[in-house]
Amino acid sequence: MDRTVSDTPRLAARLIEGEPAALARAISLVESDTPAAIDILRAIRPHLGHAVVVGFTGPPGVGKSTLVNTYIAELRKRGKSVGVVAVDPSSPITGGAVLGDRIRMAEHTLDQGVFIRSLASRGALGGLSASAAQVADLMDAAGRDVVILETVGTGQSEVEMAMIADVRVVISAPGMGDDVQAIKAGILEIADILVVNKADQPLALQTCQQLKAMLGLRDLTRRSVPVLCTDAINRTGVGDLADAVEAVAGRVKQRENRSAVAGRTRHLLAQAVAKAAETHVMQSRTQTIAAIVQGIQEARLSLSEGARQVLNNLGGEGHDG
């Protein structure tokens, strides 16, 4: 087969038809930031906006993947086709990763209505890989009714996800009330739905109460956030979760507007700039960068002043490394 850029429109066309192999390939091209990526993303633009993008976030081990698995089953019962983007961390040292989220979703491997893709964070700043949003768009364009994003679950990822997902499900586990407290500021701001998973374990109700109490302390003018209990293994509470997601999605889709979309794009751009700057600073062999580094070391330059200089420098001499 001819392997030139002219294949890209065909690939995009196949993707829009919903062909899994084309979707898989397009994801790789976009994820790897290849030249073809922009062509594909442009080609799919008219086909976006169908899917509801649901983010699942929460600390490692709370049962996100297991709950996604159970939630997929529920969605399939409701006749929805599903795409899943499951992000696992890359090693910051080697860049390698073992991607294991889909182990918990094995029962859906042979279901044509479910397409699961594991992404490594590849050094993206937050938990969600920088390209996850674009991957979600690809799945949307391929006609998936619901796209689920499972995050790494640490650090900034929650907030990042907030920018991408239509509906944000934040998951915690029994006895994690205190942990939640520690990070609650960020979490409570973004959550559309709070889930206490592992409801089969002791303390589940108590944690649920705790979360509700915390929510009660918030500004009363804000929308209400349901707190649900699920047992991802015995599959209880998942129908309620699906209902809640649908309710939120209905609201969100209505108030989705131009400025929200622009805000999201702006956020993604900011992330990309940060990533580019990082790569530039870490890999550059130029005098300029070395001089800035030395200036900071010798306390002649503040960090923020150094950063400003780097950004100025980025535009100019970025090609002598």
Partner: protein
């Protein structure tokens, strides 16, 4: 290390009294002890101990075999009285093939029988549902009572100890019981062990055998233990397995600790069922890996025996002295064996077997030197048995009980291993017990870390493996064994025979019996095992039975930790 209890009397008089007590036990077991002399003509006594001096540590930690701390052995006479059982695992092709081979083995002096089913049986599926390529490659295809009957044709099943590699929910045992019934052999004459009953070890390290969900397996396990105690009183329903975890990568201390932690879990589960520790603990047996790390293995077994005896008394309050006996089967470690220069494996197996024997095992399987190529073929299997016989008769390993006892090194190491093992048990206790610790993936992670650690040592050359990362010799002249796969025509016959079996049975009766089994599984108060035996008798296949239980109690999905 355990603290010395200074209340124990430590003068000579008591030591003598203990020795005399041991002597009485010994003579009861060995009615006509013959004089043993070595090649220089010196007389070899069955046991050596510090006869003079005061040594409270000896009394507290070692004592005499068959009593007290049990460190030196669980019987007064150990191998000098009765040598270990040679239990070689076999299982090939069709039931007819198995029967032919086992008859040969029994004729040539074998005393026990052990059945390994086909991988498809381990997975709980029948021959008509599996890719035929995979049938009968590693074990015997046994789906029905009829298959079991053929396996055991002309075998006096009431007179021979039978080892069944029959994971939870124990369908092979049910088939055996129905065969016994048909032959008029009463169930109390059936002896042997369900030696793949440790579903926790399967969940963690031996996934092929793991059929029902953890909670489902737990339920059926207890049902079986309870039902068998009533109906098949001389059967050992539980063998707690350390082999799987050690082969998966756990260190010897870790493997012993995890095994004891599992035994604790099973015992606590039995107690919670209202069973009597004095009765059920007596029926617990163990199954371990024995690696080439010679002294470490000896110390592992001595320490494990000591800990178990204490646990039985202190943790479960059992007073029955038989319950304190840490009876174990050992299998030489296949992981130590190499594809490179395979004849070297004979030497490795001999050293491993010695460690197990001097560690006080009750039963032993030695691997063939073709371990890394295939399930043992006939030639290598013979060498493996000969290795046991050489150790037994030529090396004189059976002459003396616990011959390494008293060595500064071995005693120190035994204490140190004991401390390590206790630390593992404590860790598991802190996790809320073994069941919880495997549910959360804690144990899987720990084993994986140890496996990676060992591999790292091999990769860097810190651990030398002859022929693999040192002393390599490409053309060492050893031929790789030719592998025989089952004849596809025979396999087809076996599949056909299953179809014929299904046609001739009373289908209504099968359906009804499976329905009763299903209802038993759904009701907390029914015993599933009785219903399982009934379904087997009615003609249900193992695959059908397991499918029903999987439906009701959950499919066994191991927790894969990466």
């Amino acid at each position: 290390m355990n603290k010395i209890d200074t209340r124990v009397l430590d003068d000579r008089v008591d030591r003598d009294a203990m020795a005399q007590e041991w002597r009485r036990g010994y003579e009861a077991q060995v009615s006509s002890d013959k004089v043993v002399r070595n090649r220089s003509g010196l007389e070899i006594r069955p046991l050596y101990w510090p006869e003079a001096g005061t040594d409270p540590e000896f009394d507290q930690k070692l004592g005499f075999p068959g009593s007290g701390p049990m460190t030196r052995g669980i019987y007064p006479s150990m191998h000098r009285g009765r040598t270990w059982t040679q239990r070689q695992l076999i299982g090939l092709g069709r039931p007819e093939d198995f029967n032919g081979r086992i008859k040969k083995i029994l004729k040539s002096g074998g005393s026990a029988l052990s059945i390994i089913p086909c991988n498809s049986v381990y997975r709980g599926i029948d021959a008509d549902e599996v890719e035929p390529e995979l049938l009968g490659t590693c074990g015997t295809i046994i789906n029905t009572v009829q298959d079991m009957d053929i396996c055991l044709a002309d075998i006096p099943i009431g007179e021979i100890s039978i080892g069944l590699n029959d994971p939870n929910p124990f369908t092979m045992l049910a088939q055996l019981l129905v065969v016994a019934e048909a032959r008029g052999v009463s169930w109390d004459r059936i002896t042997g062990t369900s030696n793949q009953s440790d579903y926790i070890s399967h969940f963690v390290a031996n996934h092929m055998f793991y059929r029902l969900s953890l909670t489902g397996a737990r339920r059926v396990q207890l049902d079986a233990i309870e039902w068998l105690a009533e109906n098949v009183p001389n059967w050992n329903p539980l063998s707690v397995v350390g082999q799987h975890t050690q082969q998966a990568g756990a260190t010897p201390a870790q493997a012993m600790g995890l095994t004891l932690a599992s035994a604790i879990q099973y015992a606590e589960d039995c107690k919670a069922r209202g069973l009597d520790p004095n009765r059920f603990l007596e029926r617990f047996t163990f199954f371990f890996d024995v690696s080439i790390s010679f002294f470490e293995e000896v110390a592992k077994f001595r320490a494990g025996r000591r800990i178990w005896a204490r646990l039985v008394e202190e943790r479960f309050g059992a007073t029955n002295p038989r319950a304190k006996r840490f009876k174990f089967h050992a299998q030489t470690s296949g992981v130590d064996l190499t594809r490179q220069q395979p004849l070297n494996n004979i030497a490795r197996v001999a050293v491993q077997a010695m460690a197990g024997i001097l560690g006080g095992l009750q039963s032993l399987h030695t691997d063939g030197y073709d371990e890394v190529f295939t399930t043992p073929t006939e030639g290598p299997a013979k060498v493996a048995i000969a290795t046991q016989n050489i150790l037994k008769h030529e090396a004189g390993l059976c002459d003396v009980i616990d011959p390494l006892g008293g060595s500064y090194y071995v005693e120190t190491l035994t204490d140190q291993m004991e401390a390590e093992i206790l630390a593992v048990i404590k860790e598991i206790d802190d996790q809320g017990g073994m069941f919880k610790a495997v549910e959360s993936g804690f144990v899987q992670r720990a084993i994986g870390d140890s496996a990676a650690h060992f591999q790292e040592a091999v990769d860097t050359g810190a651990q030398i493996i002859v022929g693999v990362n040192a002393y390599q010799d490409e053309g060492d002249g050893t031929a790789h064994p030719a592998i025989d796969r089952p004849d596809p025509a025979w396999i087809q016959k076996q599949i056909d025979s299953l179809a014929a079996y299904k046609k001739t049975r009373d289908q209504a009766r099968v359906d009804a019996a499976l329905e009763v089994l299903r209802r038993a599984a759904c009701s907390e108060s029914d015993n599933t095992y009785g219903a399982l035996v009934d379904a087997t008798r009615a003609g249900a296949t193992q695959g059908e039975i397991i499918a029903v239980l999987r439906d009701e109690l959950g499919f066994g999905r191991p927790l894969v930790v990466v």
